[in-house]
């Protein structure tokens, strides 16, 4: 079963992301991290097939997390989706520049998330 890591500090948003992903046709396993630090701890524990991350978080933010993932030989190829809000365009674009594969703007429909995720999970991994 494919495994998705959700990094989001808002419990409500986390619950929504998880329930949206649980609605995928092919079942996936979801792990939730409530901070960037928690994500750093989670990464070595499992082999993830996709990361969905918020940008604006305490301790380390989404950009710092993306930079870490893309600079680490073990995680470099994991597809990454940013979820952000209107108004954070500059930071979001920087995230894309750092190597995020897609972004969604909150509030989004569960189907939008599922479409993006389905696409990234079936597409061949990046090989940079």
């Amino acid at each position: 079963m494919q495994h998705i890591l959700i990094v989001e500090d808002s419990p409500t948003m986390r619950a929504l992301l998880t329930s949206a992903l649980e609605g995928l046709d092919t079942p996936v396993k979801v792990t939730e991290a409530e901070s960037g630090f928690e994500a750093l701890r989670q990464l070595p524990r499992n082999s993830y097939d996709l990361i969905v991350t918020d940008i604006n978080m305490p301790d380390i933010n989404g950009l710092e997390l993306i930079s870490f993932v893309r600079n680490n030989s073990s995680y470099r190829t994991i597809p990454l989706v940013i979820v952000s809000t209107v108004g954070s365009e500059r930071d979001r674009d920087k995230g894309v520049g750092l190597g995020a594969d897609a972004y969604l703007v909150k509030p989004f429909e569960p189907d939008e998330l599922r479409d993006v995720v389905r696409d990234l999970l079936t597409r061949p991994r990046r090989n940079e």
Binding site: P11, T12, R41, E64, S67
Partner: protein
């Protein structure tokens, strides 16, 4: 890539509750942070950028939540709120009291809307008010153009620069403009335990500068190690910084400095702060130094991942079950002793006794854990009090400094909740009635700035919460006049100073004639006392005219399971909560001294007032002439001795409230079941100890 849509999605009621509870938490946090920011702004005029950024992040989270909420005006409001805060933290909007007041208003409006999430009509009715507020915020957000600026002069790794958020870039720029050194502090940690070390390092850097960004990178063994590069700004030189940091595993290197400004002396300096536009108002001291302690950073980091939120009712249920088990254990203990005392069953008795002992140990552990889970620090209540006080300070135009101590003291959640009202009331009283105006204070040779102190500490099995002020003190003569005019005290009654002070607890005994919005009239210390008494606590009051007043509430740490002393009087058994029993004495009838109709005992040089439990409850028993037991009860500073026939030992008891006619009998707090299944009444210690000092009823 997906685009923004504003359509609504359906949410379950569970998600609804989660939304409201999360939003309420954020609103509460914003209120606290805003109050701190307002203090900084009106105080030194310099504000902590991290505080401002924290408020922005809260607004940002609210906006994301409001997107799910589906009520257009609220979405718009949170949007504007985030905009203005974004402008403030990025230095594009001038920070001043007017902006802060607007933000505070918006947060309050949002908070009140949360209360009526389910009431569509009421929400719709608020639309216009929200729209007006939204417009005003928008008008205040006339943004300066975004900053541009290159960091070419800095010897910075491109990968680090690429990962900086807009805000981090702004802080970097701001620090460069101030001519500070920009450095990178690097350290490698084990991935399983990096948080503690990293938090220590960040805290150390914050003492001498500002952390601008925390960038993680793989360590030498990427699977198990993690390296952090902290981009920081400081006034110290590289050498000074290295020696001040004293962090052996960290390496520090400089990446540059722009426009060195000669007027900045080297040496430790606070972080470069965003300036606040407002002209300094009368100095308001930052409150509660304990609340912004460094160790809290560490704590809050930890709590992010290790906390579970539980409905208090679930804990009550758990507590009840443990309570039932405790009673069952008593019954089991009885069976064990019966088996052991009969020679035919000694063997099985001793087997069962071993099992019983093991069970007993486990149950005690369970009990302690369940109790521990219910304990919460007083911090939140104190923060609330400090917010109330800050609000009042502005309203009443009084100059007061609030000190808070012991915010980490823990109490049962239930008690903490019930404590909010009496505490708020006491704090309001202190500010409204006790603290004089600055002019009055100067006239009586006092510091124009008044002081109110809220303090909590544990004393034995109780927690004492004391509110003290250095105000005018209580006018006991006036109190007496009022009490006489209400017929509460006879004109010829002789009262001691303490007894006069205690008149403040009688209903309607306020000494000020002016009705203020803050304290009102008629709602007084009597309410505070009845609230505290309902929790099994007592209120003490000490006041010196012209010097100030201290009101202490002494409360049991928990109400759930308590150890009781079982005593017997006139063939009836009673339970006395052990946490209020100071000692027990065996005395001769001849040790009792009589004075003015009271019975006293000389206890190591102090006169202890004795009360006969039998006569208190009008139980039919002749006063014994032989040896008697005295149970010395204490709460706060009050003491009383209860004369009883015999002591039967200690037991864990679960106090249950009583329904029906004896519900309101003075001196009874509730009932409990003993191990043998017999119900017994539990004495209300508070009513015994404070009734005795008032001397309203001679024994």
């Amino acid at each position: 890539m997906a685009k923004k849509k504003t359509t609504r999605r359906r949410r379950s009621t569970k998600a609804d509750r989660e939304f409201v509870s999360e939003a309420e938490e954020i609103v509460e946090r914003m209120r606290n942070d805003l109050a701190d920011l307002t203090d900084q702004c009106s105080g030194s005029g310099e504000v902590d950028p991290e505080l401002l950024n924290g408020i922005f992040r809260s607004a940002h989270s609210l906006k994301a939540l409001a997107g799910l909420f589906g009520f257009e005006p609220i979405q718009e409001l949170t949007h504007r709120l985030e905009d203005i805060l974004d402008g403030l933290r990025l230095g594009r909007v001038a920070l001043g009291m007017s902006a802060l007041t607007l933000i505070e208003e918006a947060v309050n409006v949002f908070g009140s809307l949360l209360q009526r999430v389910d009431d569509a009509e009421s929400l719709a009715g608020a639309g216009e008010q929200i729209a007006d507020l939204t417009n005003r915020i928008e008008a205040a957000t006339n943004e300066a153009p975004p900053e541009v600026g290159e960091f070419d002069s800095l010897d910075l790794d491109a990968s680090l620069l690429r990962a900086l958020t807009e805000y981090e870039e702004h802080r970097l720029r701001e620090n460069l403009e101030r001519g500070r050194h920009i450095v990178i502090v690097e350290s490698t940690f084990e991935i399983i335990s990096f948080e503690e070390g990293l938090s220590e390092l960040s805290t150390a850097i914050r003492e001498i500068g500002e952390v601008l960004s925390t960038l993680p990178a793989p360590g030498e063994t990427p699977e198990s190690q993690i390296r952090f590069s902290l981009l920081a700004a400081t006034d110290l030189s590289l050498n000074e910084l290295s020696s001040r940091l004293n962090f052996p595993s960290a390496t520090v290197h400089s990446v540059g400095r722009a426009q060195p400004s000669p007027e900045l002396a080297s040496g430790a300096a606070p972080p470069v702060q965003a300036a606040c536009e407002a002209p300094p108002e009368p100095p308001l001291q930052p409150t509660a130094p304990e609340m912004v302690h460094d160790s809290e950073n560490l704590q809050s980091l930890k709590s992010i991942s290790d906390t579970v939120r539980v409905d208090i009712r679930k804990l009550d249920e758990l507590m009840n079950l443990v309570g039932e088990l405790v009673v069952q254990r008593g019954a089991l203990g009885d069976i064990v002793s019966r088996l052991l005392s009969d020679s035919k069953t000694t063997r099985i008795g001793s087997d069962l006794s071993k099992v019983y002992k093991a069970f007993d140990r486990k149950l005690k552990g369970l009990q302690a854990s369940v109790l521990d889970v219910r304990m919460v620090p007083l911090r939140q209540v104190f923060e609330k009090a400090s917010r109330v006080l800050r609000g009042l300070r502005r309203e009443l135009d009084k100059n007061v400094r609030l000190e808070i101590r012991g915010a980490d003291t823990e109490l049962d959640k239930l008690i903490v909740e019930e404590l909010v009202d009496p505490l708020m009331h006491t704090v309001r009283n202190a500010l409204d009635h006790a603290i004089e105006t600055p002019e009055e204070r100067i006239a009586s040779g006092k510091d124009p700035e008044g002081r109110v102190k809220i303090e909590a500490f544990q004393r034995g099995n109780h927690v004492v919460i004391a509110v003290s002020d250095d105000g005018r003190g209580i006018d006991t003569a006036l109190l007496r006049v009022k009490a006489e005019s209400r017929g509460l005290v006879g004109a010829d009654e002789i009262l001691s100073q303490q007894e006069m002070l205690d008149l403040v607890f009688l209903p309607g005994a306020s000494t000020r004639d002016v009705v203020t919005e803050t304290s009102g009239r008629g709602v007084g210390m009597d309410v505070v006392r009845s609230n505290v008494t309902a929790l099994g606590g007592v209120v003490d009051i000490v006041s010196t005219p012209g010097r100030g007043t201290t009101i202490s509430m002494t409360l049991p740490i928990t109400l759930a399971i308590i150890q009781s002393l079982i005593i017997r009087v006139a063939e009836q058994r009673f339970a006395i909560p052990l946490n209020s029993v100071l000692e027990t004495l065996l005395i001769e009838a001849s040790d009792i001294q009589r004075s003015e109709g009271r019975e006293l005992l000389n206890l190591r040089g102090d006169a202890l007032l004795l009360r006969r439990l039998a006569s208190e409850f009008q139980l039919d028993v002749p006063a014994s002439d032989g040896r008697q037991f005295v149970v010395v009860l204490g709460m706060g500073d009050l003491r009383v001795g209860l004369l009883v026939d015999s002591l039967e030992g200690q037991q864990d008891t679960v106090i249950k409230p009583i329904q029906g006619p004896i519900q309101s009998v003075d001196g009874i707090a509730g009932a409990t079941e003993l191990g043998d299944g017999d119900p017994v009444l539990v004495l209300d210690v508070a009513s015994f100890v404070d009734g005795s000092t008032r001397g309203r009823e001679a024994a």
